[in-house]
């Protein structure tokens, strides 16, 4: 830039000299990446105001030049416009490198309209800001349900874990601004620590095809990214304010972005959300209030050739858990299941009492990249995450305010990748990753640790290749190797250690014998290979097919290995197994996509075969002083999951649009010939939307219909209830009935000035105040789901 300015100054000053103007300048335009000539570019000569064009070899000629400075502005449809200047004091020849990759350019250019997919042959759906803004007051798990085939497994309405094709928790990878979330994702009641307000685009990739992110995404990958950087001098922001009737909640979010033409950028975002007790149609759901605070900061410089970024995000969630779900033993569970209403119903309150959880997640990242001529792009990233989780149980005496669980998980990751795009038609990527993780379970809780202290080391190396066979066919391949080591230090109750048979298999790992407890040091090493291959065939302008195969494996997580103790909210003793091995998935998928002005259709089918699939199920009953508890053990089996997801959109006329998203998933335990637990039932969601140019008005009515899950394993068990001297059947398996919910959404956008506007949105969820319970809500034994909720949201864009 400096050179250009100097050049311009010289150019201006050189005009005054009348000199010999007969020099010739020969130029050659080449692609920065692979050196191919760039034809039909426009070359504007600033000094004379004349134009020239590059020929088939990328060459052009400018004649009759005077000595002095020559300033050229070169533009091409697929390139970023470039201005260069040269000192002319004779005939000269120069090669000018142009940046010719439109998709690469998306990262730095203004053309944010082009969807940039993370993968070429995986089943990927993109959610954009326009969709995400509707979920400003909700969680990321709610927003992801916009994608056909994505559901969620909930603990109440505030703890929402995304589920892709029937898989969740450790089978999904969540990425926040290219950092893999490490937030104790093993537990069903551990929601992902990501603020939907802090991201601008989310890609949902079904299956393990995106190997760059990990080799263990048997279910899929969720990639959340912040805004793209704009290369212009601008400052803009968004402030959102919303209020809702159910839970008497409010949410506030504000975001400010500053960009410069030179590529500098900075943005800051903050959000606050609070709600009190939610309400089912007939009663208050006592102690379901929540409180959330989020902050993100991002700054850096992005140019085509190099750039860096620093990113920090803070998220604190305090979530109350339905008081009626706190139970002491199986007898309490039986009375809770049999009671049509929750056993504790109090007046509305904003107070959050035990049982509750408070989780703080902090993420810091630094990233640098540089592009090299005729080679490609090198990325380097370091990130650190700190996840502090407290869970409070109803306790007595001095321990009343002491958390029952206090875990701190810290993760450091260093990663690097190289994208090679110098060879025409090929795009190669190599990556390497090293990670260290430290989990600390604070003993001050006075309760035996649910998850032990451990150190975990991960190392991954991968390569992916993309090849454009011809204009219609793109192929991609990927290979990855991961090494994981878990080095844990855990106390076992001696009787449990022996009952599990560990005294035979793991006697070497005992460090210390405290009489009733043993300190052991189990160390596990896992080697995982994953692979993926796929094609994308563009039949014609409107129709395309995608096919993909992926192999992936997942080592057992700390919960599956080490769980050992009473899980209060579920009234069950959960036992991990040190003998578990990794599970291996083979997944094939095929998609058909039709795209025309009037009608869009995406049909995605998959079959996923998983060897040594890890799951938990009841295996017996144990007596304690609190009474009887069912024992749920982690086991392994061979499983298959298959299904189809449909997504269709039809423009009836200028104003009306009909859309449908449907998803059907089946999960089977092949070894035992029975269904898998917690597989979403058939769900179909239809919307009719009216839009009008007037104030960009739109209104839609959505029917969300979830069928009754008829395929479920029978995990019911019989137990003796001492107080009544009876043996009863505890029905923990039967799914609730089907339900249909109607939702209404309407919005207008008012232009408040040239550059500012106000978007007003009104939504009504569960319009008819329907009573329902969802199969995939763990609190379904205790209470109905949420009743009607009316929400008003104001979004001011400036």
């Amino acid at each position: 830039m400096k050179q250009i300015i100097i050049g311009l100054v010289i150019a201006i000053s050189s005009f005054s000299y009348g000199q010999d103007c007969s020099y010739i300048f020969l130029g050659e335009l080449k692609d920065f990446h692979d050196g191919t000539p760039i034809e039909s570019a426009t070359i504007y000569q600033k000094e004379s105001g004349k134009y020239a064009f590059s020929d088939l070899d990328g060459k052009f000629k400018i004649e009759n030049l005077c000595p002095g400075t020559l300033t050229l502005t070169i533009s091409h449809a697929n390139c970023e416009t470039k201005t260069v200047s040269f000192e002319i004091n004779g005939d000269s020849f120069k090669t000018i490198l142009m940046e010719h990759h439109i998709e690469e350019l998306n990262e730095v250019s203004v053309t944010a309209h082009v969807d940039k997919k993370e993968t070429k042959t995986a089943q990927e759906t993109i959610l954009k800001e326009q969709t995400l803004k509707k979920y400003s007051a909700l969680s990321i798990g709610d927003a992801l349900k916009e994608v056909a085939g994505v559901s969620s497994i909930n603990t109440g309405s505030a703890i929402v874990k995304p589920m892709i094709n029937g898989m969740h928790s450790s089978r999904l990878i969540m990425l926040n601004n290219n950092v893999r979330l490490q937030d104790q994702d093993w537990g069903i009641e551990h929601a992902p620590n990501m603020d939907v307000n802090a991201v601008s685009q989310i890609s949902v990739i079904k299956g393990a095809g995106a190997l760059a992110y990990g080799g263990d995404a048997i279910g899929g990958v969720v990639v959340a990214n912040p805004e793209r950087v704009f290369l212009k001098d601008t400052l803009f922001g968004t402030t959102t304010l919303s209020g809702q009737t159910n839970g008497r909640g409010y949410a506030f979010n504000t975001k400010l972005n500053k960009y410069t033409k030179k590529g500098w950028f900075a943005s800051v975002q903050g959000s606050l959300k609070q709600n009190g007790d939610f309400e089912a149609p007939d009663y208050v759901l006592t102690n379901t209030g929540s409180n959330s605070k989020g902050l993100t900061f991002r700054a850096g410089k992005q140019t085509f050739e190099s750039g860096f970024e620093v990113f920090y995000s803070y998220l604190n969630n305090e979530i109350g858990i339905l008081k009626a779900s706190h139970i002491g033993n199986i007898e309490d569970l039986v009375s809770a299941i049999n009671s049509p209403e929750p056993l504790v119903i109090e007046d509305f309150s904003y107070d959050i009492n035990a049982p509750k959880q408070e989780v703080t997640h902090q993420l810091a990242k630094a990233m640098y990249y540089k592009r090299f001529k005729n080679f490609g792009k090198v990325n380097l990233q370091y990130d650190y995450q700190n996840n502090q989780r407290y869970e409070y149980d109803i306790r007595v005496g001095d321990d009343r305010d002491t958390p029952a669980l206090d875990l701190k998980l810290q993760t450091h990751t260093i990663s690097s990748d190289i994208v090679l795009d110098a060879i025409k038609g090929y795009k190669l990527k190599f990556g390497i990753m090293g990670r260290y993780q430290d989990n600390f379970a604070n003993p001050d809780t006075g309760i035996r640790r649910l998850i032990p202290d451990y150190d975990k080391y991960d190392f991954g190396i991968y390569t992916t290749a993309e090849h454009n066979l011809n204009a219609k066919m793109t192929l991609d391949f990927g290979l990855r190797y991961d090494y994981n080591r878990i080095d844990a230090k855990k106390y076992y109750i001696t009787s449990r250690w022996e009952e599990r048979g560990y005294d035979e298999d793991f006697s070497n790992s005992i460090l210390e014998d405290l009489g009733t407890q043993l300190l052991v040091n189990p160390v596990f090493d896992y080697h995982n290979f994953s692979a993926s291959a796929g094609f994308n065939y563009q039949l014609n302008e409107h129709n395309s097919f995608i096919g993909n195969y992926s192999l992936s494996s997942r080592p057992p997580n700390p919960s599956e290995l080490f769980s050992d103790g009473l899980h209060h909210s579920a009234a069950r003793i959960e036992l991990g197994d040190l003998n578990l091995t990794k599970e291996t998935s083979n997944r094939v998928s095929a998609s058909y996509n039709h795209n025309s002005e009037q009608f869009n259709l995406t049909a995605e089918a998959f079959y996923n075969h998983i060897n040594d699939y890890m799951y938990i199920e009841p295996t017996g009953i144990e007596q304690t002083i609190r009474g009887a508890f069912p024992v749920w053990e982690y086991l392994q089996t061979d499983a298959e999951l298959y299904g189809i997801d449909l997504s269709a959109n039809y423009n009836i006329n200028e104003h009306f649009n009909f859309s449908n998203k449907s998803s059907y998933t089946v999960g089977n335990d092949i070894e035992n010939d029975r269904p898998l637990i917690n597989i979403p039932a058939f769900n179909t969601r239809s919307s009719i939307t009216y839009t009008n140019d007037w104030k960009q008005f739109s209104a839609s009515l959505t029917s969300d219909w979830t069928f009754e899950q008829t395929k479920y394993p029978d995990n019911n068990f019989e137990t003796y209830i001492a107080s009544t001297n009876e043996t009863v059947l505890v029905d923990v398996s039967t799914p609730p009935s089907a339900y249909q919910l109607l939702n209404l959404y309407a919005e207008v956008t008012l232009e408040t000035s040239d550059k500012t506007n106000l978007n007003i949105a009104l939504s009504v969820n569960n319009l008819l105040d329907t009573n329902y319970r969802a199969y995939l809500n763990r609190l379904r034994y205790f209470a109905d789901d949420l009743g009607r909720n009316i929400m008003l949201q104001l979004q001011f864009n400036y």
Partner: protein
């Protein structure tokens, strides 16, 4: 230059992190603080005779079932003073959780439910919390007629609804709350 600087900082910070994480310290053992390992019902007759019914589970949530034991003989048609104790014997000396139950009397109640009552025994509460409702730590136990195989289930409930129907007279049916202890005592009356 910037690149080198960046790399340098990254490597430096990473090495700093790994060096401070090499703490090979052994995690501290946790002795469960409020776990109840032992429920002890002590019955004292006017004569000074003492009978003890006890259920003890020293491995807590572990696989071993609670062990039931009896000391002394319950005599027919005798009025006993009943005192119940909840202990955590994993601590040394044993922690007496009964004190916490008493302190938070409004949030606790002990229920005595006869599921087999050939003797026609009965229990009546003799203590009250600050609201005037029974807690159930102190009781009067009437042994009833000579018989065998009587069963009384002792349940400690946390946050029961003491105002609910029948709860103050010892009927657990409408009590609600969460169970902290639930043990079964079998006894004979001689």
């Amino acid at each position: 230059m910037k690149t080198i600087k960046f790399l340098f900082i990254t490597v430096l910070s990473l090495s700093a992190l790994t060096s401070c994480s090499s703490d090979d310290d052994t995690p501290q053992a946790v002795n469960e603080e409020e776990i109840i390992t032992t429920v002890r019902l002590e019955l004292t007759a006017a004569s000074g005779d003492v009978v003890v019914l006890q259920s003890q589970d020293l491995d807590g949530d572990g696989p071993d079932a609670p062990v039931f034991s009896t000391e002394g003989t319950i005599l027919a048609d005798t009025e006993y003073t009943g005192d119940i104790q909840f202990l955590n014997e994993l601590e040394n000396p044993a922690e007496d959780i009964t004190e916490e139950v008493l302190e938070e009397g409004v949030d606790h109640q002990v229920f005595y439910t006869f599921t087999t009552n050939n003797a026609n025994s009965s229990v009546t509460y003799t203590d009250i919390d600050v609201d005037g409702n029974p807690i159930g730590l102190s009781t009067t136990f009437n042994s009833g007629a000579t018989s065998t195989g009587n069963i009384v289930v002792v349940t400690l409930r946390h946050e029961p609804t003491k105002s609910a129907d029948g709860v103050s007279t010892g009927d657990i049916t409408n009590a609600g709350g969460a169970t902290d202890a639930n043990v079964t005592f079998t006894y004979d009356v001689n």
